[in-house]
């Protein structure tokens, strides 16, 4: 069986006065029904750009997009990139939905939450406004907002941040989508609410058997919910593997750096966190070799100028574990141990 979502060689570039910004460069991954794929990476690594391309939300007159985003639906196969705006629009909200980073500003301030959810439902279902509100009440109840019948008539400003994100989730799921894209859904929330929201997403995934594409820079969140992880750096996927592989056997120096920068409860206190030195490169003039070479601690273990001259390819380093590095997975893991 074909995977539900296939992204192949997706490139998104923005022409600017200074040159072309290659925000996403050759992104490929698959996602199955009921599976969660996490995309992690620092700000500007191309995570959100990739997602907006999947949703077809880029302004086409200002963006150059190539590659393919194929949705294998039961009755049709559709490529988001080559389809018309109207065809993609009909997928949004029905087949694929999205929730965003900042729930404080993602809901329209002038409409009640019930109206907003009902609007999403009535777009794909024939029903009266009252039916829509009834459906909205069910959804609000489902995402765990107490007193749904009363809350459905309230406005976004009457909800807390976590509750608003629940409303966003209710709105995204109202038409039973097959794919949910969650773009940093917990970044703007405090830690206890974060874990509640992630738990809710997990529960909803079971209930609707949907695929989740989770964008985040929080590796703690990833560990909690993801099945597989893509690590992005400077617009490229630098490592892709199952969740355990990433955490226990990272095969790329950037991933190693990310993992070492997380504070750990089981380690000696009073030690400074290890940070990755330097800044990510400008996406306009990417270096000729590996884009991470400049900041890489393990570069000295590679013979010659390989790192600065030849860009490494995404290779399968172990069983369905892909990484972009001139070193082997075993070498990196040994070096990582020493670095600790």
């Amino acid at each position: 069986m074909k995977p539900f979502l296939q992204v192949k060689d997706l490139c998104v570039a923005f022409p600017t006065e200074d040159g072309q910004v290659k925000a996403a460069d050759g992104i490929s991954f698959d996602l199955n029904q009921g599976e969660t794929l996490a995309i992690v990476g620092e700000s500007g690594s191309g995570k959100s750009v990739t997602n907006l391309a999947i949703m077809g939300l880029h302004n086409k007159s200002k963006t150059q997009i190539s590659g393919s985003v194929t949705l294998n639906l039961p009755n049709q196969v559709i490529d988001v990139i080559s389809s018309t705006e109207d065809e993609v629009r009909k997928l949004r909200g029905s087949t694929m939905s999205m929730i965003f980073q900042d729930p404080m500003s993602s809901l329209h301030p002038y409409y009640s939450v019930g109206d907003q959810i009902s609007e999403a439902w009535r777009l794909y279902n024939s029903g009266s406004k009252a039916d829509g509100i009834k459906r909205a009440t069910e959804m609000i109840d489902l995402v765990g907002i107490p007193d749904a019948a009363k809350r459905v008539r309230e406005f976004p400003h009457q909800f807390s941040g976590g509750m608003r994100q629940r409303v966003m989730i209710a709105m995204a799921l109202v038409n039973n989508p097959k794919l949910l894209i969650a773009d940093e859904p917990t970044t703007a929330l405090d830690v206890t609410v974060q874990s509640q929201i992630m738990q809710l997403l997990k529960d909803m995934q079971k209930e609707f058997n949907m695929a989740i594409l989770l964008v985040t820079h929080d590796l703690g969140v990833v560990a909690q919910v993801a099945d597989r992880v893509c690590v992005m750096y400077a617009g490229k996927i630098v490592e892709q593997a199952k969740i355990d592989e990433i955490y226990y056997r990272p095969a790329q120096p950037y991933t190693v750096g990310l993992l070492q920068s997380i504070p750990r409860v089981d380690q000696f206190h009073g030690k400074r966190l290890t940070a990755i030195q330097g800044q990510p490169p400008s996406l306009i003039n990417l270096p000729q070799g590996c884009s991470f070479a400049e900041r890489c601690e393990f570069k000295k273990h590679v013979t010659g100028n390989l790192c600065t001259e030849v860009a490494p390819l995404l290779e399968e380093k172990a069983d369905s574990h892909f990484a972009r590095c001139h070193l082997s997975a075993a070498q990196i893991q040994d070096l990582a141990k020493v670095a600790k």
């Binding site: 997928l91 965003f100 777009l123 995204a172």
Partner: protein, 333 residues
């Protein structure tokens, strides 16, 4: 909501009382002496004093103010015996210059000003908003650039020039209105065509400048709103661009226009001095400018100032109440 409205209403009354007091004090401080103005330079002091008494100016400012307030509710009389002048409530004073009660003078001028304000208001809102929406929708295209030219001309051309240009090169050149008929009052309900003849071009003149700034305001508000996160959410829901614009962007972008439009309209109700002058309309604007520059008619100045201030204050109240209906975040308890 009711509590909010009644609280705002009491503030409004308080502010109006304060304004009337301030206006009275300003006129008390003015070097002009209304009693001396009632007769020529050769007037003897006895006549001036007698007139001062008749005008009710021989008491303190506070007492004058109190009489004014009482007069608003009970009407006022000036002079005694055979020379008795009665102004029924609400009495704004008596103009010795025109030998008429000020209330009557204002009641005659107000329909003209109101016609001008309402006509212009409808014109500038419809032109300004639709042009602004079009310009935002087709940003950078021909419509947008054409609207920029319109905005530039409209905001930089003062009314006394645009008004005269329209009068000379449209109204008179094409013989649309006989110059002798300019400013003829016609009742809009019994003679709509005559009303239109008198008011269409003055309204257009007035609307021209306002429409330009409303176009710019609408355009920039829509463009700003369309970058909001909730507009992206609306798109992610699967709404078409049309619905996103109509239902989501416009709703948020046009809300602030209610405030500005309400206050601009209220400002116009005090009289449009220049436009009324150009088109020979006997509205409040011309009334007050004549009272200030030609006749030194203090009762009229006092009344028109208070009148204009009242509109602004009351419209402020209306706008605030309206806004609470438009924006749920403003609603209280």
């Amino acid at each position: 909501m009711l509590k909010y409205i009644s609280r705002r209403l009491s503030y409004t009354i308080f502010i109006l009382i304060l304004i009337s007091l301030v206006v009275f004090l300003i006129f008390a401080l003015l070097p002009a002496d209304p009693a001396a103005l009632t007769c020529g330079k050769t007037c003897n002091p006895q006549v001036i004093e007698a007139n001062r008494h008749r005008l009710g100016l021989d008491v303190s400012v506070w007492q004058q103010w109190w009489r004014f307030i009482v007069g608003l509710f009970q009407g006022r009389t000036y002079g005694e015996a055979e020379a008795l002048i009665k102004c029924p409530a609400p009495a704004f004073g008596y103009s010795f210059n025109r030998h008429e009660c000020v209330t009557k003078i204002i009641a005659d001028a107000f329909p003209i000003t109101l016609s001008l304000a309402i006509g212009a208001f409808i014109m500038w809102l419809s032109i300004g908003i639709s042009l602004g929406v079009l310009a935002a929708r087709f940003k950078g295209k021909f419509v947008d650039r054409a609207s920029t030219v319109f905005v530039l001309i409209g905001t930089s051309l003062p009314t006394f020039i645009s008004g005269i240009l329209i009068l000379l090169f449209v109204v008179i050149k094409f013989g649309l209105v006989n110059p002798l008929d300019l400013g003829n009052w016609a009742n809009p309900f019994t003679d709509p065509l005559g009303w239109l003849k008198t008011f269409f071009f003055p309204c257009l003149t007035l609307a021209f400048a306002y429409a330009a700034s409303y176009t710019r305001f609408t355009r920039s508000n829509i463009l700003e709103t369309s970058t909001e996160d909730y507009i992206r959410t609306a798109r992610a829901k699967g709404l078409s661009e049309k619905v996103v614009l109509r239902k989501h962007t416009l709703r948020a972008a046009l809300a602030p226009i209610v405030t500005i439009a309400g206050l601009d309209f209220a400002g116009l109700l005090g009289g449009a001095i220049i436009t009324e002058g150009i088109y020979n309309l006997a509205g409040l604007g011309r009334l007050s400018i004549r009272a200030v520059l030609v006749d030194y008619d203090l009762p009229i100045i006092l009344a028109t100032t208070l009148f204009a201030a009242t509109f602004v204050v009351v419209m402020n109240l209306i706008v605030d109440i309206l806004y609470a209906f438009i924006d749920p975040r403003v609603r209280v308890g």
